[in-house]
Amino acid sequence: MVFKFFIPTSLAHFLAAILLFFALASCKGDIPPLDREEHDLPRDAEISRSEPGKYGGVLVTAESQQPRTFNPLVAEDAYSSEAIGRFLNGLTTYHPIKEKVVPELALSWDISKDKRAITMELRRGVRWSDGEPFTADDVIFTFKALFDQRYPNRYMGQYTIAGEAIEFEKLDRYTVRFKTARPYSPFLYVIGFIGILPRHVHFDAFERGELLQQWSMRTAMHAPRELVGTGPFRVRSFRPGQRIVYEPNPHYWRVDSQGQRLPYVDYLITRYVQDRNTETVLFASGQIDAAAITPGDVVGVRKNASLHDYTVHHRGPATGIRFLWFNQKPGESQAGTAYVEPHKLEWFTSRKFRQAILHGFNREGLIQSVYFGRAQLLHSIISPANERWHNPDVPRYHYDPDRALELLRQDGFEPDQDGHLVDKKGNQVSFQVYASEGDDITPQILSTFRENMRDLGITVRIRYLDFGTLVARVSRHFEYEGAMMGFTGGADPSGGRAIYLSSGRLHLWNPEQEEPQTDWEARIDELVYASEETFDLDKRVSYVHQMQEVFSEELPLLYLVTPYAYVGLKNRWQNVRIPSMGSVIWNIDELYLGPEK
């Protein structure tokens, strides 16, 4: 059977065959059988509405980055958070198909009349993966830990509303009540961010002040059973640089309609690979079950679809946004030099200048070339993937060099006899853009930008830095003129607070302002606060739409394009429902192996 692969029909097959050879050579034998422990179902078990399946199967994915910790209070990156999410649950979670918040460890909730108190009833009978019962004490312990000054973490700021920490109290063994200083409509969404920690495991470490040292990579390597959770899986083994293996949690609280405890799969394996290309090659050669595919690779990967029985699904626009921006921070650094030279600051703070630059940038051409036609223009700060919140009617800036020049003229810029653009005071227009290295598309985008700007008479210099240096430069030293970066998108705009608010840490062009420096930034602040205080969804949407209009009119961020997201998945998996946003295997507990073809 194997020899079939060694007929190199094309170079791609040949390479895949070589990889397969090494994969086979490194196989150590059969998969050990899984011992499924039998335990009573919890009283408040959730019954899955999906089609009942049968036990068995191994689902393999690949990732180019690995978790750095398994402690939710320490985790800062998406990869650690994903691993933690496999074995910990929050009180609520966002359902990407229903597009609303659904209960997880909370069974139901009740919001008081003044909208400030939320009473949550917890699921009864749920047990931790080591068999201990889950109660309100665990919830209270978790929130106490994250507001403890000894343990700085990212949730502290998230759960500080209108300057005050959320209050929480235990009403009885299965009821907790939260109180916020002001009405806060995204509460149910954000309260699900933190995974509830087992009090019985961590209480001693908490008292000793060592909570942040718990659940490190060492724990996962040497004592994976100590990672106790309520989630669908528990960690079976973790080998940094190689793989992490999960097995079903025998105390998980979800069952199917036939009373079988979920999840169906025997093992969930994530292999750590060198880069995105390797992941794609592994998928295209049938060695992993799911992978994200970049627009340029879609056609190539689809060629093998029937051979390895998989499908490459089109998911529509990606959820993240990518943009260029100019530094608008006034003032001087400690060394006494201005963050931005005064005459350049004058350009960058001019709306017409920013609009002209975007009009002069051939983004349409980029879509056609670099993205193989599989992308669309981005016009708003919220990606079109987020249909509920995205505003399609914002000012748009198509490629139009004449319009760009007209706007520049209105702003006092004129080309001189050599074709260089000069401002009112006779300064030639030139600026430098920083970008992070290590991505194959960024240089193509920026070299196109540079060529387009040259046509307008503007000299652009581009510098590539490693990601950490770039972040330090734009968020701590503020000594730059322009930069390019991206943000991943969340379901609810309350996750973008730090970007939108003028006091925000990620308000990139001029962060952490004490008072909004411009009228439009003050207007955005108003709209964000208003949207967080109203509980009427239509009103919230309208505020967020207005906010996007202001952003697209003022253009503090010059949006690039939104590539379409593609994901490849093997056809043998059943119950697959691909949402427009988020992970493809979000309902991993419901997936089961269909009959082999």
């Binding site: 791609a12 056609q368 036609g373 070299s447």
Partner: protein, 350 residues
């Protein structure tokens, strides 16, 4: 002596072949602005990953075939039957500065806009790979020469002085050499590149790399030259020069240099490929030349994507072929030179 060497080379077919190939490569580099139909940064976003254009004869004059994009998602182009554009030779085009200072307009060949000629296809933003190959050669082929100039000079000075004076000078120089040899060069390069990147323009990065490479590279040459100098010092003509009261520097340059010249020449020829490969490797790792600059290594780095294989964009790999040819040629030339200088170690049959 050089004349003699040249004569000897031309007597061997292998030597002639190497000289011809290198002459073609270097002439192409020197006249790249004239030979390349486009600037290395000229984009055409409507023809990304365009395959090499076919050349057809019409009325006994060469024309390029015109293509249309049939499937943007797979970067597939089909020739349009019967539609061609004439190639214009020695015609005026966009103005450029030849060698940086002579204003010129003439190019060897070009096609009337909006049609384009892609002898070796185009890359992801529709830039002509052939033009980029020629401009990239300016970096990739000169880096070796600049590199060996620095290493051979340093190697000769340090090695010669150590060998000639001996004693404490020799001891110090050789410990310095050992110190430099002991430095793990790749990590040093990565660290230096990280520290210096912020202070240099992408175009200057090229010089920085050569200097870093050669400052690490001279130590090996210095060791061998020191050994040769030690034996030279015992030779009667050196003793005679000393007795006659010639200055040390004069002895070094008048008596040592001519005797070491043959070794230096062979060593230099054989170490040029190492520089070309090192530049390619560094650029491939993202540590070397960066956009908007271009070099063969950088072009290869930009081609290390899965789609180059799945969509069969073979023309993006031509810089690899160029590096291969250059390195092989330099190595063969080095062998031929060594045969001439040191016939005892003959490798290539006459």
């Amino acid at each position: 002596m050089l004349k003699h060497l040249f004569k000897e080379i031309t007597r061997r077919p292998m030597g002639v072949a190497c000289l011809v190939i290198l002459a073609v490569l270097y002439l192409g580099t020197v006249f790249s602005q004239f030979l390349a139909p486009y600037l290395p940064t000229d984009q055409d976003l409507t023809s990304a990953y365009h395959p090499p254009t076919r050349i057809v004869l019409e009325d006994w004059r060469p024309h390029v075939q015109v293509y249309e994009q049939v499937d943007p998602a797979a970067a597939r182009y089909e020739p349009i039957e019967g539609e061609t554009a004439p190639i214009k030779f020695f015609a005026a085009g966009e103005e450029y500065r030849f060698w940086g200072f002579i204003p010129a307009q003439m190019r060897l060949f070009q096609v009337e806009e909006p049609h384009r000629i892609y002898l070796l296809g185009s890359d992801g933003t529709g830039r002509d790979v052939f033009s980029r190959l020629l401009y990239g050669a300016q970096v990739s082929l000169s880096i070796g020469f600049i590199g060996i100039c620095i290493t051979m000079t340093l190697g000769f000075l340090v090695g010669g002085i150590a060998g000639y004076f001996g004693g404490r000078t020799d001891f110090l120089a050789m410990r310095l050499v050992e110190f430099i040899i002991a430095v793990p060069s790749l990590y040093l390069l990565i660290a230096l590149r990280g520290a210096l990147a912020e202070h240099f323009e992408p175009e200057q990065m090229y010089l920085v790399i050569v200097i870093i490479l050669s400052l690490i590279g001279w130590a090996g040459a210095a060791r061998i030259i020191r050994g040769m100098a030690l034996s030279l010092r015992q030779r009667p003509f050196v003793l005679a020069a000393e007795v006659m009261g010639q200055s040390s520097l004069r002895i070094l340059f008048r008596h040592f240099l001519p005797n070491l010249a043959s070794y230096l020449l062979v060593a230099a020829t054989l170490s040029i490929p190492a520089y070309i490969l090192a530049e390619a490797a560094l650029s491939f790792l993202g540590l070397g030349i960066q956009e908007p600059g271009t070099s063969w290594g950088l072009m290869l780095q930009q081609a290390q994507e899965l789609k180059v294989f799945t969509l069969n964009l073979w023309w993006l790999l031509t810089p690899g072929a160029a590096i291969f040819i250059t390195v092989i040629t330099f190595n063969m030339l080095g062998d031929v030179l060594r045969d001439i200088v040191d016939p005892r170690q003959q490798m290539v049959k006459r």
